[in-house]
Subunit: 309 residues, 2 copies
């Protein structure tokens, strides 16, 4: 059975869908700016559970995942459209109103206008599809395909917190689930990085560090070498997992942190970003080979993070 | 329990979502053109059934419903994005490839570029959400809100064919289901109507004539009087239903014909559109009152067509 990524690669190669394969589609807008546009579908019991998240949190997350895609292009989000299919028993509750409360509160915070949507009925599964459109200076959207050997690999914030939160929820603990349930899209940071002019490729970490780094390597025709000791691990990971190998696995392969993963020219001034950006490795010329340096050992780094199929 | 239309009205009124309520959102693009953008979610066993439609037909329909919204604004479709959630057992089959075949064949026919999408897993229901973006001359998108008393009410093509096809399928007959399964978006007609400069309000018939006319009346603050004898009834309706009342009900309240319903100034030259446009009534000053003239009788015309909730 093919993976979703293989399927998407086939769409790109055999159907000549040259536009696909980045966090956002980049389309012509006017002489100054391009339109960047993304959509993300969240499915009940795959991407969220009604018993773990409040309606407001689900609304927040539905928009946050798309805002994060705009951030990964260096764009400014402008407007949103939303499709929802509600099961009848969910429609009858206060869920729809509270969902929109969460969605709109985040939209307002980023100055994003709610421009329309579609409401459908679903037999039994709640489905949300959020579209966000934004702008980026013409020809300057940051793609996945620009990484060059010798570039540094960087990541924002810390990793593994969402996966650790999920593990905690599965054990019945709710205290550490904020990163999973209320992800913060790194829109301002994306613009600050854009402004340096030194970011050569960028993606948001939705599937997980290993898988999302793989997307950059594949699209750029490069490899990467990552230093395990440099990966910023979320404190929540330490409180949830006691074994070092579990902690590293969480940071490497846990999804949904919605931090930015990017490559930069070597002269990038990481100190300008205080402790919010970490250099974790470098881009190599070994096309599509990723490795992890862990102490004295160098081992293959496989894209083991989340995929649907 | 509130209806979906009541809910949407509340979004517009209480959340100041002034942009919503038309077939497409209208957003600024450049000095010449606005961006028109729409999205439509189709849910298995609500909007289509895998046992009645081929994968190619479902792909065709997923795009056609959104192209139809662009047509209803007088716009030109340009690009599309697509979210799909596949149940695992559907993903394993040739469904995804055949679905994209149907989707892309229609996209190509209208010069619409496939710009990206999202693939998810769904526990058991296939869900498709298609986004289409297009362009229309700045400030000139045809809204639902421009109908004026004295305008003529017109409809394109013929009505009831999709509902009659559904009734036939429910009885086990498949011969008459083409309108339901392969709807034809009226994009060229929408542009021709736009070019007359005389269309004051327009919508595509997705819910049904009575319900979609109601949307125009509500948004324009007007009423409408429809002449039953002038409604163009699809020949398929005649072959499926023998009673006149069933035939009329099918044409008035059957959804998914994806014809254009619009109001025009009285000087509109309907003859220029051969037999493809019918004048079926007129807009009145009786705000939100719709009536049906049937022979000597005039009866209230209620918005009885499809709604999800």
């Amino acid at each position: 059975m093919q993976t979703e990524f293989g399927f998407i690669r086939n769409l790109r190669n055999y159907r000549n869908f040259s536009l696909i394969g980045d966090d956002c589609a980049v389309l012509p807008k006017d002489s100054d700016n391009d339109l960047v546009i993304t959509l993300d579908m969240l499915v009940e019991n795959v991407d969220f559970r009604l018993r773990w998240a409040t309606p407001e949190q689900i609304g927040h997350k539905a928009l946050a995942v798309s805002l994060s895609d705009i951030a990964a292009m260096g764009g400014i989000p402008k407007w949103t459209l939303l499709s929802i299919a509600f099961p009848a028993e969910v429609w009858k509750t206060d869920f729809p109103d509270r969902f929109y409360d969460g969605y709109c509160k985040l939209a307002e915070r980023f100055g994003v206008e709610f421009a329309g949507g579609d409401i459908s009925q679903s037999p039994d599964t709640l489905i949300v599809d959020s579209v966000v459109g934004g702008e980026v200076e013409h020809g300057r959207a940051i793609l996945r395909s620009g990484a060059r050997p010798g570039d540094l690999v960087c990541v924002s914030g810390s990793l593994g917190g969402a996966a650790a939160g999920l593990a905690a929820l599965e054990r019945g603990a709710t205290a550490d689930s904020a990163r999973l349930l209320l992800p913060e899209p790194r829109v301002e940071l994306g613009r600050r990085l854009f402004a340096t002019g030194q970011v050569t490729a960028m993606i948001d970490i939705s599937d997980g560090l290993s898988g999302d780094l793989w997307h950059i390597c594949e699209m750029s025709g490069v490899g990467a070498s990552i230093d395990a000791a440099s990966i910023p691990i979320d404190p929540i990971v330490h409180s949830v997992f006691s074994e070092r190998s579990d902690r590293l696995d969480c940071a490497l392969n846990g999804g949904e942190d919605f931090e930015l993963l990017f490559s930069v020219s070597p002269e990038f001034a990481v100190a300008d970003f205080e402790n919010d950006v970490s250099v974790i490795g470098e881009i190599t010329a070994n096309a599509e080979i990723m490795e992890l340096k862990d102490g004295n050992r160098t081992i293959p780094l496989n894209p083991d993070s989340f995929r649907h199929f």
